[in-house]
């Protein structure tokens, strides 16, 4: 009834019949209002997937000329030559995947550590401020991360971290840390992405850890487990599918992140095994070149990069979700 009154007052549902007289329990009243309400919310609910499909259709359509011209070679070729109208997105595809996974490798243990500290060990007076500050990392604009990356992170990486990894730890002997340390690099992109996705993974992990029922924790403690054993034996296994969900959320952010990565990755169209070498990502490629795209095929190639990014994000998300679904189904939760 209240809904009807409100709808009538705001003038959105003029067809609403006048309120039936209140006689006992209304078992057949309010039918029209309910129908209008359900139609409206159904439209809202369907609008979102429809929008997704529309974007996918437009991108696919615009990418079609380039995909038709270069075929599967678009994914394997490293040539990106607007002068000769030849395009291949392999370095950008490689860079997107490597920088995102690098970010996950760095961010996941840190974020989990933060979440465990905040949910299990932090004294109550410290819990809120620290959680708030960690969450605040997500509020910093991407371009500010980029600037910080250029003026703070890259000099530190170039002067200390890269020489340390390459020479002091002798990792330069492997292809992954060999070559000169310019600064702008896959490593810089991975580190900046790690900082950017950390609050997402940490916030989700913290929430799911705090949601582990007290009974599960007590069951472990009653078996003579220490807090640490209780945490790893009962709480984290119970929360693991939620934690995996947080990691997926972070991965999704990392795959699509554009501005900060563009500013620190070096933007070079070349696949290099070394993390010290510059690279490219699909998002950076599109952002850098859209204004300069001259030919129709060039534009279409950029759309095709967008299409590939779209598909990669979809596959990674679907795969990760399937993984979560499978582990939680095995566990029966």
């Amino acid at each position: 009834m209240v809904d009807e009154v409100r709808a009538g007052a705001s003038g959105e549902a003029e067809n609403t019949p006048t309120e039936p007289p209140r006689a006992g329990i209304a078992i057949h009243g309010g039918g029209a209002g309910d129908r209008i309400y359900s139609v409206v919310i159904t439209v809202f609910a369907l609008a979102v997937p429809a929008l997704l499909l529309l974007i996918f259709a437009v991108v696919t359509n615009a990418a079609w000329p380039a995909l038709k011209t270069f075929g599967f070679g678009f994914l394997t070729s490293s040539d990106w030559d607007p002068v000769n109208d030849v395009y291949g997105a392999a370095p950008a595809l490689y860079g997107t995947l490597v920088s995102s996974f690098l970010a996950l490798i760095i961010a996941t243990p840190l974020a989990l550590g933060v979440a465990i500290f905040l949910s299990e060990f932090a004294p109550p007076w410290l819990r809120r401020p620290v959680a708030f500050l960690v969450d605040l990392l997500a509020a910093i604009p991407s371009v500010v991360y980029g600037l910080w990356g250029i003026f703070v992170l890259i000099p530190i990486l170039r002067s200390y971290v890269m020489p340390f990894l390459r020479d002091t730890l002798h990792l330069g002997a492997t292809p992954f840390f060999s070559g000169p340390a310019y600064g702008p690099s896959m490593l810089a992109a991975g580190v900046i992405l790690a900082i950017m996705i950390l609050p997402y993974i940490s916030a989700v992990s913290r929430e799911v850890l705090m949601a582990v029922p007290r009974s599960q924790r007590e069951a472990a403690l009653a078996l003579g487990a220490t807090r640490w054993e209780m945490l790893w034996g009962a709480a984290i296994p119970f929360a693991r599918s939620g934690i995996a969900g947080g990691v997926i959320l972070g991965l999704g952010r990392a795959l699509g992140e554009t501005m900060a990565v563009t500013m620190v990755i070096g933007n070079r169209q070349e696949i290099a095994a070394s993390l010290l070498a510059p690279g490219y990502t699909m998002a950076s490629l599109i952002a850098n070149q859209f204004t300069e795209a001259t030919s129709d095929l060039n534009l279409s190639a950029l759309m095709a990069v967008g299409f590939v990014l779209f598909v990669v994000t979809l596959i990674v998300n679907a795969g990760a979700r399937w993984l979560v679904w499978r582990t939680s189904r095995e566990a029966g939760i």
Partner: protein
């Protein structure tokens, strides 16, 4: 089951186990949650190889009292106790005594089954054994698991699916699994906190039969809402009211000729 049947059952037990030494002894115990005084000045001897039941209305402090016996009480922030609890002559609250090691010797099963959902049946029973190995005990895990499941009267039902998820078991089976998990640690004392409160009558019957069998190998303290259950499974019963222990008597006496008028009022259903 009428009370008289229970008495017949208990009579046999009483003669077989004449005046055993106290396994646990509680003296002048007060338990608090911050300013709330939940258990008031309770003293009780818990004899070996006997089942001690604790009954009383909701909020009478019986669960809190039980949780002081394995130092689970103090895992709640602001909770603390005064008084002493001795296990085999040793004060478990003495300085230098590790609460974690107390809990290895005094097992506990909760109101709702708390099977670990990500573990198999075998994994659940073996869940605490890693802790024992860490302190230097040596044993065969498979043997321990089988023995614990047999003692919990669950072996025949699960022996063919030890690697299946524990959540595939019924509520009653899960509760016996939790008992098996506690027994695998080979505790001297087993605390049961309303173990049948969330179970159907048939599962309840199985758990009760099990409790009665268990006392040969372990000292049992059971908190229960259900007076018939206390009458069926226990050798001595304590009645708690408003945080105080009103009466502690042999079970047959408490239910047939209670010494305190409040006990009588409670067991005859006048309140609670």
């Amino acid at each position: 089951m009428p009370v008289s049947d229970a008495n017949a059952l208990l009579g046999a037990g009483d003669t077989a186990l004449a005046s055993p030494a106290p396994r646990m002894e509680v003296r002048g115990l007060d338990a608090f949650f911050g300013k709330v005084h939940a258990v008031k000045d309770v003293s009780m001897a818990i004899p070996e190889h006997r089942v001690t039941a604790i009954i009383g209305p909701s909020g009478c402090g019986k669960s809190t009292f039980l949780r002081t016996l394995n130092r689970m009480h103090e895992t709640i922030p602001t909770a603390y106790i005064r008084g002493t609890v001795h296990l085999d002559g040793e004060d478990i609250y003495a300085p230098g005594v590790d609460a974690v090691s107390v809990r290895r010797h005094v097992g506990m099963v909760f109101q709702r089954p708390t099977a670990f959902p990500t573990m198999s049946i075998r994994g659940n029973v073996a869940a605490g054994l890693g802790v024992l190995r860490a302190v230097g005990e040596r044993f065969d895990v498979e043997e321990r698991v089988e023995e614990a499941l047999r003692r919990a009267a669950l072996w025949d039902e699960v022996k063919d699916r030890l690697d299946a998820s524990a959540l595939g078991l019924s509520g009653g089976q899960q509760q016996r699994l939790c008992i098996a998990r506690a027994l695998a640690m080979e505790p001297g004392v087993l605390l049961l906190d309303e173990p049948t409160a969330s179970l159907d009558p048939i599962s309840t019957e199985k758990v009760e039969a099990l409790v009665h069998q268990l006392r040969d190998g372990v000292t049992v303290v059971i908190v229960t809402h259900n007076m018939e259950q206390a009458a069926r499974v226990s050798d001595q019963t304590a009645f708690f009211l408003h945080g105080e222990m009103v009466e502690l008597s042999p079970t047959s006496d408490l239910f047939t000729r209670p010494r305190d008028s409040r006990t009588e009022a409670y067991i005859t259903g006048r309140f609670g």
